[in-house]
Symmetry: C2
């Protein structure tokens, strides 16, 4: 199968190093990593691994983070982990956070998604994110189909004037049979990214997965043409799917752990998940497992186990066969269910919190 | 030269009858003409000559007119005459009138037009239109870059989802090097057209020149796909240019009479204008002139002389050589300057009127 990475399609085994080069971005060096004030597995353990102008933005007095959400029916644990990292960045840097919900884009790109569904998903995703404890005084949620403001639309058309169809076609995976709303959307997303700079004079750091980097490239190109500061970016790998695929797919229940999965569902899904362990226990004890391809280990490593000693211990035991696949999965089940329980309690507690994040 | 008619380009001699067939519209029959309650040269003397579903809409209890304006630095006499006809339709049918000003489109399609200029032109054009006496209780001005509302944007993205690039490319004269804002705009224009139907449940009659009919076709196609009533249309020919070309070009001072031309400028322009008269007065007296190709005669016929007897008299005299080209031009100069004087007085008198037409 051909390798292909566009914002709408990830085909084949992902070669993260190749993408860094192909997209013209940089790897986060160990020196740069030390300068990041946030202690979080997502940055410390290599999930956020690429960047554009990160050093420059971290040395700015003030900056804003833009981290968008293409609404999905069910948010995954991976989605939420990213926004939890955004919250830690806000705490550490005191920065403003803008979260655009592209319900318009989802509606236009997905043939069978109704307008009302897209709006509903955006709102529900936002409720999950709102419960993470972001500072409402410094956080703004933008919903394209409910809170679109004139400034944002005007910025989008200014961006659109600078972007031709041929400029975006290949990198977005578009063709002439793409609808003209989806074709326009990269201008709206560029506007999302540049909005804090244009409206509040804040330089922007975009937190985004590497497959969406084209949006950053386009926004940077447009920024240059409009004579405004180019946005910086912190680029992540994908959260692996339960089925062992490189990218957790929120539309595939065999691949994704959802925020509203029950404890029972979590248990069943993890028991049935792909494993980096051996075919038999005997073999596993003898040869050891491979945590690098084990999705449950990756979830532990990326967002469930904060303590470095603890995750190292799990990794060594699994790699040397002391920890079986079943035992590893059991750790995963417990930690995920504890996390989900805590999250759902918080969600109930702050259920009107979302209002504080909607400014217009 | 090839013949070509798109919303952005009119090349060659226009064959109006061919366009009617090519675009799948109908000629206004003498029977249908009789049913139109408005007495105005623009309809009575064949300027509005084509239609879609006109009979149906005129038999509706209520309907809305949509007649947009792509803002230009200077509005021409021809532009204003159209809105004056809209006003007469409103008086006769009591209908709501929606006037979208596509400053976004003009900004995006014109390489060298700044955003602020496009906004300024829209506002200035609107001031001219506002002085015509439209009923403010039944008229709404929509400015894409200043009064865009969420309903309109949402309708635009619903339209956009139903329109692919290949559907619009040829009829709009677009290519892959067209910017993605201009590519999106047909969805916004479809939204302008369908807005009264979606928001106020009013069937729509679009008043538009034949070169813009593609916008009506696209809006009708989208309406069908969205399950709403298709808009009807009343289609006009072009106002001829002073230089004898088929279409007055508002960007060419040799072609256009502007609303803010001074009496002196009007006189000079008309004296220098193309004429349907003969090369010498002697020849003209002997062979007669051709009013059909004479722009000044056309202006008299289309909007300066209401009285049928009077225009017939002028036509016969010019055709038979009794009225010289100079004399015809003198009539034009006087009538145009009288009209402009009256218009400018009214503009001063009702200068804040525009506020009443902006609802959001």
């Amino acid at each position: 199968m051909d390798k292909k990475v566009t914002p709408y399609e990830v085909v084949g085994k992902v070669d993260y190093d190749r993408l860094i080069k192909e997209f013209g971005t940089s790897l986060i060096s160990p020196e740069l990593l030390k300068k990041i004030k946030v202690k979080d597995p997502l940055i410390g353990r290599g999930h956020f691994y690429g960047h554009r102008d990160l050093e420059k933005i971290l040395s700015s007095k003030k900056f804003a983070i833009v981290s968008g959400r293409g609404p999905s029916e069910k948010m995954t644990l991976g989605h939420l982990a990213i926004f939890n990292f955004v919250k830690k960045m806000q705490d550490a840097y005191g920065c403003y956070v803008f979260i655009p919900f592209s319900d318009d884009e989802k509606f236009m790109i997905k043939q069978n998604l109704s307008f009302e569904e897209a709006q509903k998903y955006a709102y529900e995703n936002a409720v999950d994110i709102a419960s993470l404890g972001l500072n409402p005084k410094k956080t703004e949620f933008l919903f394209d189909t409910t809170t679109l403001n004139q400034d944002l639309y005007n910025l989008a058309i200014k961006c659109a004037k600078k972007m031709t169809f041929s400029m975006i076609k290949d990198s977005m995976g578009f063709s002439e049979s793409t609808n003209i709303g989806s074709i326009f959307y990269p201008a709206m997303q560029a506007a999302h990214i540049l909005y804090p700079t244009v409206k509040y004079k804040l330089p922007v750091l975009v937190l985004i997965a590497i497959d969406q980097d084209v949006m950053v490239r386009l926004a940077r190109d447009v920024a240059t043409k409009l004579g405004i500061e180019k946005p910086a970016a912190l680029l992540s790998k994908f959260i692996p799917g339960l089925n062992g695929e490189d990218k957790m797919s929120s539309s595939n229940p065999q691949s994704a752990l959802y925020m509203n999965d029950s404890a029972k569902e979590v248990e069943t899904k993890i028991r049935n998940a792909f494993s980096g362990g051996r075919d038999t226990l005997e073999e596993h004890r003898r040869l050891g497992g491979n945590p690098d391809i084990d999705p449950i280990f990756q979830y532990l490593k990326l967002f469930l186990v904060q303590d470095d000693k603890e995750i190292e211990d799990i990794e060594i035991k699994f790699r040397t066969g002391k920890l079986s696949s079943g035992e590893l999965k059991q750790i995963g089940i417990e930690k995920i269910n504890t996390f989900l329980k805590g999250h759902n309690e918080m969600k109930r507690k702050v259920k009107d919190m979302i209002k504080k994040f909607i400014k217009s």
